[in-house]
Amino acid sequence: MEEKQSAYYWQKVVGNTPLNIDLKKLKEASKESFRNESDNYKQKLVYNMLEAIKNNDQSRFFNILLRAINKPKENFKQLWETLEQNYDVMPNEAFINFAYTIVLGIMATYAGGEKSEQ
């Protein structure tokens, strides 16, 4: 399948290498990482994240996100790696796509939903 061009909305050149945000990969990482957290915790986390995104507050959003995944014993390795490769200060439009991707990834993991992801 041809990869959608728009998935790499934001691009930045570091040295000679273009740095892309692969949002599909990011969503998968977010989903995998938060799978084992409780629904209540995640709903609250999503709510706080949404508030930060609403105000275009990047530092608040990353503060919430980094605190949430700063748990070495838990399964956040993939997300850390993805973030390390991709994270930088972004223009607002790119930030919105980035942040909602993470939120939607978390929302896909609620245990209360009847259908779970394959």
């Binding site: 909305y9 709510y47 993991t109």
Partner: protein, 499 residues
């Protein structure tokens, strides 16, 4: 030898009776055909066949008789078969002599010693023209006819008369954006270069117009550079326009023309002729003038999409907004954006609370078609390819396929939101907030409002069809996200209908 061959070529060219590319001469060619149709009952194919097989007889025999007969019998111009003269193949002059004898015998006013031609209705603009002048006696009239038919050398003063009479019908080049070459071609040489019988067609151009419509008593002529297409459209248009009430003509003319054009284009699959089309409007009165020449071309991209019956039928709808009605197909073929209209439409439906009236499929089709065009163009830009690449038509075919697939996917996936939220008031409030964010084109606000409510609905959040659709169509889509977002809002309201 060479000269003979050239003449044969010229003759073949003439006898094919084709459009020249100059709308004014072409209106004359159509008028010529219409005149023969009215007097002898020949349709386009018959006129062409007769013109090809015996064009001297048609031109020097049948045409002058038709012209005079029509002038004297405007209410019922059909000339019965048994009343028509027969012509033998002989010289052009002899054919004309036969015709003129017939004309004199039948129509000459002995007291005035002239064929008393009446400059009214279709002939009004020829008031002071040659054989119409009251002082012009029969011999002079015959002489002028022969000049028009190129049986005698054309005297310059003929052209002066023609110039005076018809040049006001030639609009400036600015009005004809795609036909710069219509500008001031009225000289004997240029006229006859266009067509050796341009003078005949100049006499006939009023017959191309559909006469006296609406309060303003204006005359209409649809023009495209293709004779069959123009003939067919004007024929149908005349029927449609006659059915209209007086006060409807002005506002309906473009709509009806488009409807006719689209029907005929689909019938004949002649999409290529859709780009250079005009509606020419003129008014006959003391000051004969062109009222307007509207360019009504349909861009190829839009034309190739509406050729699909399902898509066309779904966009071919008039929707009611708060203070006006909009015909979606018209906006679409004008190349105007549909999204702002649909936002207002969905808002109007929400305000009226009459959700049963929501034209679900039309909204879905309009928005998806538009989204896919936007994506198609963005992709083209990205690949830096010209829109008219070699794969032009293949690209269009694949675009149609993509539209249809997307309609299938999105109509299912977006409909999943219909089961969302239990209370009608809640749904309506959410729909209103989402619509407001869409009006402001605020993606952040839209997603924020949506996801906050969705966060309470775990089942819908984890539905992978729905979750992935939001991700792909709205979050990572910066080109056409609004269209998909609006489809989602519509579905939210449709859910309201069920509860």
């Amino acid at each position: 030898m060479e000269k003979g061959a050239q003449q044969t070529n010229k003759l073949q060219e003439v006898s094919a009776l084709q459009f020249t590319g100059s709308w004014f001469i072409d209106a004359g060619i159509l008028g010529f055909i219409n005149l023969l149709k009215k007097v002898y009952g020949w349709d386009l194919d018959q006129v062409r066949k007769n013109f090809k097989e015996q064009f001297e007889i048609v031109l020097y025999g049948y045409f002058p008789i038709a012209y005079v007969h029509y002038n004297k019998n405007q209410q019922n111009p059909f000339l019965k078969e048994e009343e028509r003269p027969t012509f033998n193949f002989s010289t052009n002059e002899e054919i004309f002599e036969d015709a003129w004898r017939f004309i004199e015998r039948r129509y000459k006013d002995k007291n005035k010693n002239r064929i008393d031609l009446i400059p009214s209705r279709n002939f009004l603009m020829f008031k002071n023209f040659l054989f119409f002048q009251p002082g012009c006696k029969v011999e002079k009239q015959k002489d002028y006819f022969m000049q028009i038919l190129s049986l005698k050398n054309v005297k310059e003063d003929i052209l002066r008369h023609i110039d005076k009479t018809v040049n006001k019908f030639l609009p400036s080049a600015e009005k004809f954006v795609n036909l710069s070459y219509v500008e001031s071609f009225i000289t004997q040489k240029t006229l006859l270069d266009f067509h050796p019988y341009s003078l005949v067609f100049l006499l006939c151009f009023p017959f191309a117009f559909i006469r006296g419509l609406g309060k303003e008593n204006e005359n209409y002529f649809f023009y495209s550079p293709n004779l069959e297409f123009t003939y067919r459209i004007n024929e149908k248009l005349a029927i449609f326009l006659e059915r209209l009430k007086e006060n409807e003509v002005g506002e309906q003319i473009l709509r009806i023309t488009w409807k006719t054009v689209i029907d005929s284009a689909i019938e004949t699959q002649s999409l290529w002729s859709l780009e250079n089309m005009y509606i020419i409007k003129h008014k006959v009165g003391n000051q004969q003038k062109i009222v307007s020449a509207d360019y009504i071309g349909i861009p190829k991209l839009q034309a190739s999409i509406i050729i699909d019956e399902t898509i066309r039928e779904n966009i071919n709808i008039t929707i009611k907004l708060e203070n006006k009605k909009v015909w979606l197909l018209e906006e679409f073929i004008k190349g105007l954006p549909l999204y702002p209209i649909i936002v207002n439409y969905v808002t109007a439906v929400l305000n009226s609370k009459d959700y049963k009236k929501l034209a679900r499929r039309s909204v879905l089709y309009s928005l998806i078609v538009e989204a896919k065009i936007l994506e198609f163009r963005a992709q083209k830009e990205k690949l830096n390819k010209s829109l008219f690449s070699e794969n032009y038509f293949d690209n269009y075919r694949s675009l149609l396929k993509e539209i249809k697939e997307e309609i299938r996917f999105t109509s299912y996936k977006a409909s999943l939101i219909q089961n969302f939220l239990d209370h009608d008031e809640h749904k309506e409030r959410l729909a209103r907030e989402l619509l407001n964010s869409l009006k402001g084109e605020d993606k952040n606000m839209f997603l924020n409002i949506l996801l906050k409510d969705l966060n309470e609905e775990k089942q819908l959040c984890t539905n992978s069809n729905f979750n992935n659709w939001i991700f792909e169509k709205i979050i990572i889509n910066n080109i056409s996200w609004k269209n998909y977002a609006l489809i989602l809002v519509m579905n939210l309201l449709l859910g309201r209908r069920r509860s």
